[in-house]
Symmetry: C2
């Protein structure tokens, strides 16, 4: 590792073979010393889940100048935690997570392992960015994102983010038109409505198969969802304080009459 | 089921045998028709994780007048989702989650399966409350909470909560002094600093065992953590919009100079 370069941790929730992870690691190489700590399998929708049983491992699988790669058998948040509290000798200067195969705009951020990894680093005072592409294809085309990812990362490395804030960056799927630019957004209101269907469990029993559709409930032109629909890159400053501060007075009245 | 009573779903993340779950279900019985849908094993720290593989089951294990109980082999959020999208013929009027064995005050809310279940219901427009006790003992004493839980639940059933808001209610551990009262709070700033130690994995290999301590970083007298320390019940109005709105202008300047 070169001493004067920033230490950049790369993780994701799509597993070590994901094209988006490899792309992100390759983009980080010119920017610092890179440590990839990825889940050893797909860990989508694991949110901020952590492994509390004594089963976690982190194994070095590749090493070359300026680059190390570890596999972790836990969740994306486990990757971050064991990264600098076990595998590395210091905290990284930046954690980047992704590039996720699929949007983490709107309420998808709540379920996302990719964004949970960024939020975990943020909780520990480390600059962190989650990158996601609005396309689930395993072989998705990420090349139109290169300049944006490098520019955003360089800016965060140079100036840092406010305490307790990380970035949720979502990119539109490649189309015939070039991306229109960057847009600061708020998280859109939306929800998944599931549609479970019965299927055979392989042992003569029945289990449920998850399906569903994303219901958009927000007409604002300032949302991440709207930005993606209009071919912009969305950037949402994201924190981990779930307090609904606009309802504190309402709550006081509510509690006073219990 | 009696037609004129509210339908109350009870879930948790400590598994179907947890004393806190049984206590909460028993407190709900006089207030409505109760459906318990609990995880079939301990699912602490599963956050908002969901099961995306076709393996989910929900099995009716008990039924008596005004009461049904199902076991689900997924996460707490799976319990909520399959609850009203598969097992029941309508959405419940209220989802209560807990009583968790252990505090979900401060940043614990991010990792909590108990609070994730409440937040999931809230995302779907259902009134929801997470109840937690600041005590991890399996045989914890919950009796000093009865009147508070019933009063808070009755109030929510009668008046509802604002759209997109659920309640994170934490109780102090039983002590010689009675609880001082209810306090509206914000989520305290704090973090877990893990301490992993190597242990044998049972197959001749080594894995990591999770330990750690909770680092309190917030001197405010208006936090949930502070309320618990001073023997109050903390109530935090909790939402799922992670946008750090106080940094939107900062973000605009940041993006404009990329």
């Amino acid at each position: 590792m070169e001493q004067n370069k920033p230490l950049i941790m790369v993780t994701n929730d799509d597993g070590c073979q994901a094209k988006g992870l490899k792309k992100l690691a390759s983009l980080m190489m010119p920017l610092g010393n890179v440590v990839v700590i990825s889940t050893d399998r797909v860990m989508s929708a694991k949110s901020h889940s952590i492994t509390t049983t004594p089963t976690l491992t982190g194994i070095l699988v590749d090493e070359k100048p300026g680059y190390r790669e570890f596999l972790c058998n836990g969740t994306p948040v486990d990757c971050v935690k064991i990264g600098y509290q076990w595998l590395l000798d210091r905290k990284p200067d930046l954690v980047v997570s992704g590039i996720n195969h699929g949007s983490n705009a709107s309420t998808n951020v709540i379920y996302s392992g990719t964004m949970a990894a960024a939020i975990e680093a943020c909780m520990d005072g480390i600059n962190a960015i989650g990158f996601s592409l609005d396309c689930y294809d395993l072989d998705a085309d990420f090349d139109h994102l290169d300049d944006y990812i490098v520019a955003i990362t360089k800016k965060v490395l140079a100036e840092g983010l406010p305490p307790g804030v990380c970035l949720n960056v979502n990119f539109p799927k490649r189309s015939d038109e070039p991306i229109k630019g960057l847009k600061v957004c708020r998280q859109a209101k939306a929800k998944w409505v599931e549609n479970y269907s019965p299927c055979e469990d392989g042992n003569g029993g029945t289990c449920l198969k998850l399906g569903g559709k994303f219901i958009f409930e927000d007409s604002g032109g300032d949302t991440d969802y709207d930005a993606l629909q209009n071919n912009y890159v969305s950037l949402v400053p994201t924190h981990f304080d779930l307090t609904a501060k606009q309802y504190m007075e309402w709550m006081e009245r509510f509690v006073n009459t219990i």
